[in-house]
């Protein structure tokens, strides 16, 4: 009896440890963007999913003509698969549909760097990056 209980308990601990570990990289990425945002503006109040959605859905001027919006490739529904201009399917960008999203800092930086430049014609700020991820975590 105690043995079964202990085994079950161990499984629970392992499971929750696993879940916590899976979340850590994304939290660490957000924490980094937060500290960058605060060092640029000490009064910064925190990331906003609403601003993130505006960035995601907006049609932007200033970028390259073929890519006016994040939705050009990621699609209007973040839970659905996206499609590049060359016709290749890409995984959904919403965390609920693709749990590995925003967990590798090098990938996150590489794609913000490219896609913000393509769509906005400039780099995204730490605030914009944090807002975008915050919005996608709720999707």
């Amino acid at each position: 009896m105690t043995k079964t209980f202990l085994a079950a308990f161990a499984v629970c601990v392992l499971l929750s440890a696993g879940l916590a570990a899976a979340d850590t990289p994304r939290d660490a990425i957000l924490t980094e963007f937060l500290s960058q945002a605060k060092s640029a503006d000490p009064g910064f109040a925190g990331f906003s999913a609403t601003r993130g959605e505006t960035l995601f859905r907006g049609n932007h001027a200033g970028g390259k003509p073929d890519t006016p919006s994040c939705t050009t490739c990621h699609g209007a529904a973040p839970q659905d698969k996206g499609r590049t201009r060359a016709g290749k399917e890409i995984d959904p960008i919403a965390v609920s549909a693709a749990p590995k999203r925003f967990t590798d800092p090098a990938e996150v930086e590489k794609w913000f760097g490219r896609n913000c430049n393509s769509v906005l014609g400039r780099e995204c700020s730490a605030v914009e990056k944090g807002d975008f991820i915050t919005f996608m975590m709720g999707q």
């Binding site: 390259k64 003509p65 073929d66 890519t67 060359a86 016709g87 490219r114 430049n117």
Partner: protein, 155 residues
């Protein structure tokens, strides 16, 4: 049942017979990952060295998108593409592609190489290119399901 065995033998036998026409699959992980994110990673044999050099020097405006890479990765990929380009690799199909290009031209698109154009002229209905499942001529896998592993002689 016997029909299936014969079919299996035919299918299994085909690759060996056509091995000559196959393009070698890409073996470099960085090329597979970085050049396969927005479209399939195209086999370097389709273009000459001079085309790859030009392309890898202009990744920040790559067909209207920013595809730039950290410098070390860019150099690794450029070296692989140039080492396996159509004018230096032993691939027969690659040699035919490169031979069809005028010496003073460095095309950036495989789909503009004269041999590519010739192979598709009359083979594909004009309307097929704009089919939503295809979307782009560069979407090789939409029609060549084995394109990723070097098979184009499939349909």
């Amino acid at each position: 049942m016997r029909k299936w065995i014969i079919l299996a033998v035919l299918l299994g036998g085909a690759p060996a017979a056509l091995a000559d026409e196959r393009l070698p699959p890409i073996t470099n992980e960085a090329v597979k990952k970085e050049c396969g994110a927005c479209h399939m990673a195209f086999q370097p044999q389709f273009l000459p060295q001079r085309s790859w050099r030009k392309m890898m020097d202009g990744l920040s405006d790559h067909f209207g998108e920013d595809a730039s890479l950290p410098e070390a990765t860019r150099l690794e990929i450029a070296a692989y593409l140039e080492a396996n380009a159509g004018d230096v690799s032993g691939s027969r199909e690659g040699r035919k592609f490169v031979k069809s290009i005028a010496a003073d031209q460095s095309p950036m698109r495989i789909t503009e190489v004269p041999r590519w154009v010739g192979e598709h002229r009359g083979e594909v209905r004009e309307s097929a290119w704009s089919d939503p499942r295809v979307r782009s001529k560069a979407n090789c896998v939409a029609c060549h399901r084995g394109a990723d592993s070097g098979w184009y002689d499939d349909d």
